[in-house]
Amino acid sequence: MRRAPSALELRRDGAARYLPWTIGLKMFFAALAVAGMVALERVASTWESGANAVVTVELPAGSSAAMIDAALETMRRTVGVASAELLSEDAMADLLSPWLGAGDAMQDLPLPVLIDVRIDEGEVVDWAEAEARLYEAAPEASLETGMVWVERLVDFARLGQLLAAIVLMVVVAVAALTVVFATRSGLAIHRETVELLHLLGASDGYLAREFQWQAFWLGIRGGVGGVLCAGGALVVIGFAAGRMEAPLLPNVGLGVVGWLLLILLPALSGLLTMAAARQTVLHDLARVP
């Protein structure tokens, strides 16, 4: 639908030219902050669920076969555990070769027995309970879950999320302020027309609508630009992260929810600028005598 010509030619204002850029820049950072929050959420919850934890059971060198079997059996019966396998001597040799070098040196060493425990994806294992049962079945066995370390990582991820949230809030506040000032200068530039419209019977709401729709479309345009740039940046980052093959960073990605949020961001940006413009007009006009 063609919009009726407006007495307030807001489209020709300087603000119509610079606002999409400044809003776009802010939405770029907002998109990165949102992406950071979502990605960290996914990483943190993966870590929390322990799916990525490296869990091993260690038995002293020379443990009896019965003891080893008991430990294996206990772990396999633990809820959430996918498999528990004795680390073969070959695997052990692989593991130790950096320190001992390939060869027969290992043969003479009293090596502990290691059981490699894998967890079903998405399962949460009650490690305290598993440890208690392991102690009953094989007192000499010890469980190494690395949970303390994982908890620290999770805390770290949560801190990162908090920072991203703060960045997001600041960026949103600054974007809103930009619109407030742009709207205010628009009201000043068009003071005579605004007065005329009032005298012709326009309510504050009518004037607010003129400003808010203008701000809405500027916000949308800025939001689309910012999110497109952020999306490009994220794809590059994701590609780089994929090549690093960092074992501690499972599923770094945004997932459906993350990308959906990014797609929604331009609309949210438009609603934000619209609300800011509307409130500014209503607030400022209410003070005109």
């Binding site: 007495a7 007065e195 009032h198 005298l199 012709l200 019977g201 309510s203 504050d204 005598p289």
Partner: protein, 225 residues
């Protein structure tokens, strides 16, 4: 329709430009307002079109005390008033057609109900061939007629005209007065400010005279003679 009781007005902290103004405008009446330049005619009209608050006194319009109206109610009151400003106040970047359509758009009239009456009215004021012209390209008299068209397009119950014949020749002046009288016949109350004594003399409508911010007399033509 309109009632002023001991109304005073000052701009900011300046001196009172209007003092002790009391009068009433009966519904359906046609009044002239005259007085020397600087006497306060435009200021009095400004109070009437609710463009300024009086510094004292009571103003009642359409039965409402305007001091008690909130901004929303003021907007609705103004929608019942048509104003021909002394300086026209046309919107430069809108065509003649859109300038006249503006009061209708503000009142929420849909596009489909705008074109026909606007074209018809512009035809009537003799601007039928200037529908898409912009105000800067119009002569003084054409601008004046455009301003009048915008003031009357909404069929206001009260029409305030500040020197509406100031820029037109005698023929067009009489034409404008005929338009006003036609509106008056349809029920619009009219207050016409002018210092053109000959114009006032030609019509039988009562005339209020302002001198230095005070209403000297509320005289009919007969009394003035």
């Amino acid at each position: 329709m309109v009632r002023f009781e001991n109304v005073g007005m000052r701009y900011g902290l300046g001196p009172e430009v209007l003092r002790d103004i009391s009068f009433t405008l009966e519904p359906g009446s046609f009044q002239f307002l005259t007085g020397p330049s600087g006497a306060g005619k435009s200021s009095l009209l400004r109070l009437l079109f609710l463009g300024y608050r009086p510094s004292r006194g009571l103003i009642t319009m359409f039965g409402e005390d305007v001091a008690e109206a909130d901004r929303e109610q003021l907007a609705l009151l103004r929608q019942r008033i048509g104003v021909v400003f002394q300086d026209f106040r046309l919107v430069d970047h809108l065509s003649a057609r859109e300038n006249v359509a503006l009061p209708l758009r503000i009142a929420g009239v849909g596009d489909e109900d705008i074109l026909a009456p606007v074209t018809e009215l512009l035809d009537w004021v003799g601007l039928g061939d200037k529908l898409d012209a912009f105000p800067q390209t119009l002569s003084g008299g054409e601008k004046q007629r455009l301003a009048i068209a915008r003031a009357v397009i909404r069929r206001p119950r009260l029409l305030l005209a500040d020197e509406p014949t100031g820029n037109v020749d005698g023929v067009n002046g009489r034409r404008i007065l005929r338009l006003f009288e036609a509106l008056n016949d349809l029920g619009t109350t009219i207050l016409l400010a002018t210092h053109d004594e000959r114009l006032i003399a030609r019509y039988a409508h009562p005339c209020m005279r302002l001198v230095a911010g005070q209403l000297l007399e509320v005289a009919t033509r007969e009394a003035a003679q």
